[in-house]
């Protein structure tokens, strides 16, 4: 495995051979700190209480085993919390903003400097769009129409940023895409 091509060419470190996953990860997180200072969503996860992932959208480069590890860790951290806890958890050097809807946990992993409440409401906005789109959404809808869920995510979030926030506009676009099928 050669050096990651997504790293900036100007950095002499990119020419370096990576010896361990840990090194890569550390460098990526370091790079994140330098370049990604603006708010960045690292990933969006929807998991149920048992730990099954219903949606995983990654906005940063992770290896498959790293992804799996992250999923497990997020699940472990989020499921033990109850109503008396806040909706924000510090997680490694990021933070996770999550909300529980019935049996599903919607988690967004962001930078520690980001606005918690804004992302909390972004989650709710997203869920309301899903609700409108699937007409009273439930977990099964997400399971059977997972590709549609990814479409909704991509309408509202892109490149780790919030892309569109108007529910009407998003739904209009989704219905238009649906009519093409």
């Amino acid at each position: 495995m050669g050096p990651k091509t997504s790293l900036p060419a100007r950095d002499p470190c990119t020419a370096r051979k990576w010896f361990s996953l840990a090194q890569q990860k550390e460098f990526l997180e370091g790079e994140c700190n330098i370049l990604f200072l603006s708010s960045l969503i690292r990933f969006i996860l929807i998991q149920n209480r048992a730990g099954k992932t219903r949606l995983a959208k990654w906005y940063m480069q992770f290896d498959d085993d790293e992804k799996q590890k992250l999923i497990e860790e997020v699940h472990a951290v989020v499921t033990v919390r109850d109503a008396k806890h806040t909706n924000f958890v510090e997680f490694r050097n990021f933070k996770i903003i999550y909300r529980r809807y019935a049996g599903l946990y919607f988690c967004i992993c962001v930078d520690v400097n980001d606005n918690n409440l804004a992302y909390l409401e972004a989650i709710h906005n997203f869920v309301e769009v899903l609700n409108e789109y699937f007409h009273n959404v439930c977990e099964l809808d997400l399971v059977f129409n997972f590709y549609k869920v990814y479409t909704v995510v991509d309408e509202m979030f892109l490149a780790g940023e919030i892309r569109e926030t108007s529910q009407t506009k998003v739904l209009k676009q989704l219905l238009m895409l649906q009519s093409l099928e």
Binding site: L117, A118, L158, R163
Partner: protein, 593 residues
């Protein structure tokens, strides 16, 4: 078309993060900034994210976006409820766009900022001594509009909510917190800062845990601003209450951070005692940090040093495992430097050592202090020399190698201070377990101290084991350690602006060497405390002394192995004290009394 623009802007952002050089920003700057004027709010949302990232690298190129951002923001904030139909979320107009715009503004200093204007515009000196800037009116207008905007947001927070739903309040508060964050970033409008502080104060007692958490977090940054520091202090009781009663550990942790940030001379004692109480029940992961913070606060705001000694001993008693070396070295340095507290320290340490379960760090501190200042309490029959010795020796076998090494040094000091204990102590040193100890350090010390006590005359012994000289002033190593632990932002709240020079008379980064080598002064020289080249015999003894120091350097025993003291030694050299190097050769120094 608009949705293509949105996606394109964010894709450009992603490309830029992946490879900044590929993007020809020079030509595209104007076009990107122009996106802020777009009719479609979604396009503006995407564009703001793009600009925020770009302007981190080239702030000057994107300066024009500030006024556009401010005008967009003020239009949103003051819009009637019927505008922005699609983008109104639970009666809040475009919350995410507002938050993003406020974020963008945090990348720049406040508009109409004098320093910035100076760099970029022409200016002339007025007769009154003020400066007038060309182009300033435009900046001033922007600033005025922005301040108006911020005030509107703060006003709206006070109004009754338009909806009972939590979504409405979250969206409104998201904008509010970002506004407060911007106000803190500017740090130039006192009335806004105070208003922000009052608003956060109200949130401290809100029903929702989220809001309490965020309020505590924001107040922490407010506490370091000079304008709002007093306002923050008024909430101390609420914060202390939060520290005690909050059920979420992260909220309690934020309360502790806030107490640390708002601490100053007037409330130091109260805050330190609250933090000690919190320490007793704190999570293990955060204990070390709290210990460091308490140590820093206790030292910085100690008017009465016996209180400081008590606090540190309490720290050791409550969380001994988490008391790092820097903390207890510091208390020893302070006790050594301050004559008035030596007797009190000796007495307190003696009492603390009598507790049945005594932490090893306490034994270390106790051993050192009694070795240096045990004579101050020797008059009292309850703490007579044999009693002191037996107390320390009772802990001897329970301790690690490093502590035992320290205790052996204390014993030889006792032989010097209290000749009546000489026989007993020599008996201990002579014991096979010491003379043939498996650990080289202990064996060496036992052998050498035994020989020293048998061979040297009282005068020589007294000179060799003279009381340690005061430690020179240095940057606090505890503060350095806290910074290392938490990253650069952490201890700065305490550092800049509020350092009180009068309280910093002893700030040593030098670690005391528990074992004194052949003479205190040449060894001190070797460690770099004094720049004077030791005269006459010293070059030889310096060489030999060096060797001895190395030999005495046990794995964990020698503090001089740590990185900070090394730099400290080499960087700052004290002016020479001419008498001390001569002491060995010239007159026998009076016995340490």
């Amino acid at each position: 078309m608009d949705s293509v623009k949105q996606s394109a802007a964010l894709c450009l952002l992603r490309l830029y993060k992946a490879s900044p050089d590929l993007v020809p920003m020079g030509e595209w700057t104007a076009r990107v900034v122009h996106l802020l004027n777009d009719q479609h709010m979604g396009v503006v949302t995407a564009a703001v994210s793009l600009i925020t990232c770009l302007c981190k690298k080239n702030p000057d190129d994107f300066k024009t976006c500030i006024s556009l951002a401010v005008s967009r923001l003020s239009r949103i904030v003051s819009s009637a409820s019927t505008d922005l139909q699609d983008y109104t979320y639970y009666f809040v107009p475009a919350p995410w766009l507002s938050v993003k715009l406020l974020r963008l503004l945090q990348c720049y200093p406040p508009p109409g900022n004098q320093r910035r204007a100076l760099r970029n515009l022409g200016c002339r000196l007025l007769a009154s001594g003020g400066l007038q800037f060309y182009g300033a009116p435009e900046d001033a207008a922007v600033k005025g509009r922005l301040v108006e905007c911020l005030e509107t947001v703060l006003n709206k927070a006070q109004e009754p909510p338009k909806s009972k739903k939590v979504q409405h309040s979250n969206a409104k508060n998201a904008i509010l917190f970002e506004t407060i964050s911007l106000i803190i970033h500017y740090d130039s409008e006192p009335n806004l800062l105070v208003r922000a502080c009052n608003q956060l104060g109200q949130f401290l007692q809100h029903r929702e845990t989220n809001l309490r958490y965020l309020a505590l977090e924001s107040m922490c940054t407010l506490a370091s601003s000079e304008f709002s520091h007093e306002a923050v202090k008024t909430h101390i009781d609420t914060v202390i209450n939060a520290l005690k009663t909050e059920r979420d550990v992260s909220v309690r942790q934020r309360a502790a951070d806030l107490l640390y940030a708002m601490c100053d001379r007037s409330n130091a004692k109260q805050i330190v005692s609250e933090m000690l109480r919190y320490l007793e029940t704190a999570d293990y992961a955060i204990r070390e940090e709290i210990v460091l913070k308490v140590a820093i606060l206790a030292e910085k705001y100690a008017v009465d040093y016996s209180w400081y000694v008590d606090t540190i001993l309490n720290l050791i008693r409550i969380a001994g495992d988490y008391v790092s070396e820097e903390v207890w070295y510091r208390v020893l340095q302070i006790v050594t430097n301050r004559d008035d507290v030596q007797g009190y320290a000796a007495k307190t340490v003696f009492e603390a050592l009598q507790a049945p379960a005594c932490h090893e760090n306490m034994v270390k501190v106790g051993g050192y202090i009694l070795g240096e200042f045990g004579n101050l309490i020797a008059g009292d029959p309850r703490s007579s020399p044999p009693v002191q010795f037996s107390l320390l020796h009772s802990k001897f076998h329970l301790c690690s190698v490093a502590t035992r090494a320290l205790l052996l040094s204390t014993y030889i000091k006792f032989i010097n201070l209290f000749p009546e204990t000489k026989a007993t102590i020599q008996g201990v040193l002579r014991a096979g377990s010491q003379l043939r100890n498996a650990d080289v350090e202990l064996q060496q010390r036992a052998v050498e101290y035994l020989t020293l006590s048998s061979v040297a005359s009282t005068d020589v012994l007294a000179t060799v084991l003279e009381e340690m000289p005061p430690f020179p002033e240095r940057e606090s190593s505890i503060l350095a350690k806290l910074k290392r632990k938490k990253g650069p932002g952490a201890a700065s709240a305490l550092d800049d602006g509020r350092r009180d020079p009068s309280s910093n008379d002893i700030n040593g980064g030098v670690e005391p060497t528990p074992s004194t080598v052949s003479t205190p002064s040449p060894s001190a020289d070797l460690l770099g405390l004094r720049a004077a080249p030791p005269p006459a015999a010293p070059p030889a003894s310096a060489g030999a002394g060096n060797l001895l120091v190395d030999v005495f350097d046990g794995p964990a025993a020698q503090p001089s192995l740590g990185p900070t003291p090394e730099e400290a030694f080499l960087s700052e050299l004290e002016p020479p004290a001419p008498e001390s190097p001569m002491a060995l050769l010239a007159d026998p120094a009076p016995a340490a009394e």
